[in-house]
Symmetry: C2
């Protein structure tokens, strides 16, 4: 059973068996981290690279006045801080949203991985996708109203989680609070609540006890103006169907 990192990187293209073995081996020594726990603080210079194996974490920054902006969700298969090889200090923080399983991979081990050309290319691809995602979030905050904005985010999570096998029958676990959603979308908690009700009322989503249900993903995509091209999944092993290679079940 491949770990989520291997699974994600193979979306870019098939990996040599030896590479796959190396990647799978990296998931040993996992540790459980409770929800709402800081992994890395702004200003830190971590020596290990952290990888999420289960649960949701996030990148975020807290302003002087206490406002917080979350600018990425880290889901299983995502690296937290690959840039430590270049940058002197973190310019943002990383913390868990839900209880997570993580591994801390020593620099040397990561260098071993990036020494393998296929892995290096896949990691580069993954980094470019992260960057494209950031751009799409900017479009989301700049151009869409609250309801569309949240719909768009849910479409993205649906696809990203499906690509690591975490979606079943259009349902997936969304272990975050409405206030955290607000910090993600630049909205107040109250308004997030009302936007969610609007989505439910329109039958676009179901959301109960932190399980999100999307009865008709195409409808939600149309509503939120979601176009999956920025996730750059079309070149790899996935197909070009409207759902971007993701099928229920």
């Amino acid at each position: 059973m491949p770990n989520p990192l291997t699974r994600k990187l193979e979306l870019f293209g098939e990996l040599p068996a030896e590479d796959r073995r190396l990647l799978d081996a990296v998931a040993t020594g996992r540790r459980s981290v409770p929800a709402k726990t800081s992994i890395i603080q702004e200003g830190d210079a971590p020596s290990d690279v952290h990888l999420v194996l289960s649960g949701f974490a996030c990148r975020s920054k807290v302003l002087a006045n206490g406002q917080r902006q979350i600018f990425a969700y880290l889901v299983p298969g995502d690296f937290c801080d690959l840039h430590i090889f270049i940058l002197k200090a973190m310019d943002h923080s990383i913390e868990t949203l839900s209880p997570c399983e993580m591994v801390a991979i020593p620099r040397a081990r990561v260098l071993e991985l990036t020494g393998r050309p296929a892995i290096a290319r896949a990691l580069w691809w993954s980094n470019l996708v992260d960057e494209a995602t950031l751009r799409e979030w900017l479009v989301n905050l700049g151009q869409r109203d609250a309801v569309q904005r949240i719909a768009h985010l849910f479409c993205e999570l649906h696809l990203r989680l499906a690509s690591v096998g975490l979606v079943r029958d259009g349902e997936f676990s969304l272990p975050i609070s409405q206030s955290e959603l607000g910090d993600t979308m630049g909205l107040s908690t109250v308004h997030v609540n009302r936007a969610l009700q609007s989505l439910r009322r329109q039958g676009l989503i179901g959301l109960e006890s932190h399980v999100l249900t999307i009865p008709d993903i195409d409808r939600l995509r149309k509503f939120g103006g979601f176009n999956p091209n920025y996730l750059h999944l079309e070149g790899g092993k996935t197909d070009r169907s409207p759902t971007g290679g993701v099928r229920p079940g």
Copy 2:
């Protein structure tokens, strides 16, 4: 006289003379591009890498309803599309804002550059800074009101342009319209206009015939909540003074 690319990359660290020579040589064959001209369209798979030598260009995306979001300004020394080595197609467009001078560098030439370890590292650094900038813009859109938002953008441009020698006495050329500013900040043209007036009224900026004057950068930074750490200039040849190594003149 080094070109702006060389100058920018040396902010990360001194380069071997031979590397510098290679980088400077890349600026031959420049061509002039008028304002508001498309360089690369979403969906394209460009074969050359484009570099800005003078003027302002931008990354942007236009939604189905005609709304546009600009998510990066490309100023002298910035590459437009280094990712063509990995991604199959552009997920956004690039166009000039002002008249620009650009060069199209063939893939092979770029590979020659990235074959030099010091250049490769500097380019990686530059890419990470671009990504951090994107995150900061997300904070800007998500958490700050219109006036602070614009103030923050101006502080960033001040520092970035100063780092390639384009700021004199707190003044620099800002060859973009208020409507483009609006597309950048997720604001209507009308509101941008009023926000600019507010900044002028407070004596935080002067802006006349596309020349921006910042009489007191520290005051503007405080107002906009600007912290230059995300531009990661502190590790290179610049100092740690409050202006991040940038001095008038």
